[in-house]
Symmetry: C3
Subunit: 153 residues, 3 copies
């Protein structure tokens, strides 16, 4: 892939949101050695949160859309921290928390919304390890929260 991540984003018709500042005594990103840690990003769009619970009021596609939003927010934070998406060496880890009922079992399909977008934007540099689990609830009642670790190029 010789295209830049920004070109891929544009080709996908996507724009990264303004990265949201942390509203408490934590920070959205931290660099330690060659690793960039990104705080858990929720399914919050510029015009509001994507709320709901998988297995209750949300279907798989709703969840995938929420996971994509988390991924866009993660990339926005990474770009803000590193200056450019080209400074991402590799996406190392995503931990995907899905707001879901006790009988929901398709968490991987939901988090694929983020995994697929990560690779669409970053190519091989976007392939990552991950965990996908169902949680009892999430901040603001959002559908998905995902945290991330990147290796810096």
């Amino acid at each position: 892939m010789t295209e830049t991540a920004e070109a891929r984003l544009a080709a996908l018709g996507l724009t990264l949101p303004e990265p949201v500042a942390a509203v408490a005594n934590y920070v959205p990103t931290l660099i330690s050695g060659k690793l960039l840690y990104v705080s858990g990003q929720i399914s919050m769009e510029p015009d509001g949160p994507l709320k709901g619970k998988l297995g209750d009021d949300l279907g798989i596609e709703d969840g995938q859309k929420a996971a994509r939003v988390c991924c866009l927010n993660i990339l926005a934070q990474a770009r803000s921290a590193l200056g450019s998406l080209e400074e991402i060496g590799q996406t190392i880890r995503l931990t995907g928390f899905v707001n879901a009922t006790p009988d929901f079992t398709d968490h991987p399909k939901v988090i694929n919304g983020a995994s697929d977008l990560m690779v669409d934007v970053l190519g091989e540099r976007g392939r990552h390890t991950r965990a996908a689990v169902g949680v009892a609830g999430l901040p603001l009642g959002v559908a998905v929260e995902i945290d991330a670790i990147f290796a810096i190029a």
Copy 2:
């Protein structure tokens, strides 16, 4: 901040507990390269666990107190592993698990109890990335569990 973390603790009227040994085939802390990993610390005070569920029998302030206790236990483990809180270079990551009902949505406010104390004690070195999620349950029925990664100074 020129004060030591110990001086800040004292000024806050706080004392770190004796770090609790792991009671199984895991360890409370591990150093790998320049990183210190701390096992999930629960809201366990020297005289017993802070139990309960947010959204059910616990209010936000109860949860914040439980998160503070987790933070004290994390700092106690870090001091034990490194010899001194001054050896902490930076708090890198906290993952906060809140024992909560499916409709609870204020997990960030709860985990702020830990985030605020971390910065109160360590200053800028205490600012961290984090995730805050609601889980179905926690060991012993405690209200909060938090794990941590530190960079060593």
Copy 3:
């Protein structure tokens, strides 16, 4: 411990399964610097998943068996990534997600199934930090999911 991990596995009567390829845009393992990250491994045996919920249809021993299966899958992935279990320098972190009801409180006992096996196979190199929490649900309805970070020898 002068025995190899393979000899310990054999003495335990255990065989590592074929590592399962990721079925989406993520990867089972990634090496970054001296760390090996392993994606969340579920309680999936070669002949099918170990499903169920602690506190509901599963007892502690069922959960421990599921956690052992997760550990075997983690070790299989690590061996595949590194070429040999002898290339594991240290197990750094396990995060154990237990599929459990809101009133279940013995998550540590469940995850001990993985922690004990890790040390049985790797000796001191198998001692790790960990977190153990109860989640609302897991992929396919499995009982346990565990992700891992290793230091490379």
